[in-house]
Subunit: 327 residues, 2 copies
């Protein structure tokens, strides 16, 4: 195995000079630098990966910061990021932030000490100083747009228009919209899409804010359905809330889809397992994760990134919680 | 900031000697080593974390190798591993293996070059040479027992006895057992538990092998229910298969729980969202992940590990797919 001594000998300089050059840790003359570079290449001297990351101040670690991997939206995202990263020789560090800015900040700082190559972040805090000052490539996923940070997101507004029209086309005249948390950009885009589509119709509607959480959604919808028996369609801003709505419908004895039609948003695997299966506006979560990872690796490797905003199309998946059009 | 030069000056040795000592990369006299150690301590010279991992051949990275994060059993496990790792100052690298031995081997080798501190592995390949020869602390989770590798697992056999008895206590006389893949230890333990409990009863039973996959399970159960209308209870070896069974029951028009009772195994969050909610033998997945991580970190830090096998109790969660006892 080639050692640093062999390199020094070949280059005609001291071991300390080679070390200073490779570790970028002090003055090396241009002549010596050239000789060391030639010797390293000729001898195919390989720094081990940790030493190399010390040298370049880069490792091939990507930090994936997301709110909570147990939320059914994120495992598929993590899977895509890991798959794509692997093909480029990067590995993925998993960070659950619980949307807690302190935890996010802590990850950024701890991982920067490991010379993390870059971050993919799903957060509402993208304007926070720990992102602005991170001084490392970042790509934002799903949430919030800071103009300096490339963002990959679904076409949420378009999706919401699609979902609303799907209920209208199937005869719904009294639609409940389950709006997601006000601080989430995607939730707001979905709400805007719903408002745009519903206001072009003659249907009545009701907007209720509802967390992306099963039990909470179930309770809220149960109450709303009792107070508003005329509701014949529910458009939920997430599949988890839609699952809560479906459970609520069964608890108050409303038949789905005959008396009440339900559409979710997300397209997570769980939707298929419900009875009836959940009609939903599906995001291409895997594609979002894959694009984000490719863009991040381009930024890490100083390649040109063509654009700063990537919008991934959504599509309507029709299952059993809606009737056929014209039925 | 203290530099390596300051350390060399203080110790009265050359920078190269300090570097050799800190990087363990060549001969250093006992006297020089003592002087350098004293100088490092006195000056509070801090190697940066990557340099330190080069020195100790350890980083604070833990590799988590699991089949697929999108299988609903694993996100909660990953979450527990990451939570516990974080409190000890470790970060978690996520590796989806797809149960592919080549992919696992590749992870082990790539990550070892980064001086990974240890691995938590959910695999059926634990006897494979890449684990036996990994020469790095490993803890096995959920699957397979190699006597050299500490293993954390649910009490699967006990859980299966519990689930079977729950169906018997609720009047089932013709029970279908959905056995998991034969190559999985936990699935075999569950099958053994079922056999033990059912053979102590007078009930009739049928065992069908069925992958832990929703659509496949649905198709298999639909067929079995058509051919065996007398079946009044299904015990599935996973919640995903149970969800498939529930869907199949609705497709063939068998009312759950009045005509057919169903119990799953796992306790994943999705079970609650089904209608009716899924009765299940729940594993304490978070606890399994937490124990595995603590045991691994003890091994990494050369602390005593008291035992080599940790069995985490399961519990029965009664929801809507079963009737009350004596009903």
């Amino acid at each position: 195995m080639t050692t640093i001594k062999d390199v020094a000998k070949k280059a005609g300089v001291s071991v300390a000079t080679v070390s200073r050059f490779l570790n970028d840790s002090g003055y090396v003359s241009a002549e010596a630098a050239k000789a060391v570079t030639a010797a390293v290449e000729e001898l195919k001297y390989e720094l081990n990966p940790i030493a190399r990351s010390l040298n370049t101040k880069k490792s091939n670690l990507i930090g994936l910061i997301l709110p909570d991997i147990t939320n059914p939206f994120f495992p598929e995202l993590a899977r895509a990021v890991e798959d794509v990263a692997l093909t480029y020789g990067y590995t993925v560090v998993l960070c659950n932030s619980d949307e807690n800015p302190e935890k996010e900040k802590n990850y950024i700082e701890t991982l920067k000490k490991k010379y993390i190559a870059g971050f993919i972040v799903t957060s509402n805090q993208l304007d926070a100083p720990h992102y602005a000052n991170a001084n490392v490539p970042i790509v934002a996923l799903d949430r919030a747009i800071n103009e300096k940070i490339p963002t990959v997101s679904s076409n949420n507004k378009e999706g919401a228009i699609m979902g609303t029209n799907a209920l209208l086309d199937r005869g719904c005249q009294n639609i409940l919209f389950l709006r997601g948390p006000a601080e989430l950009n995607p939730a707001n885009d979905r709400w805007e899409g719903f408002m745009e589509a519903i206001q072009q119709s003659n249907a009545k509607y009701l907007v209720v804010t509802c967390p992306f959480h099963f039990t909470d959604s179930q309770k809220i919808v149960e109450q709303v359905l009792k107070e508003n028996p005329q509701i014949d369609g529910i458009f939920a801003s997430s599949d988890v809330s839609a699952a809560g709505a479906l459970k609520a419908a069964s608890l108050v004895g409303r038949h789905v889809p005959n008396e009440l039609q339900i559409i979710g948003f997300d397209g997570v695997a769980m939707g298929e397992m419900l009875s009836p299966g959940l009609t939903t506006v599906a995001q291409d979560v895997y594609k979002m994760g894959a694009i984000a990872t490719r863009v991040l690796i381009k930024r890490i490797e100083n390649e040109m990134v063509e654009q700063n905003f990537y919008e991934v199309p959504v599509k309507l998946i029709i299952r059993g919680t809606t009737r056929s059009v014209g039925e």
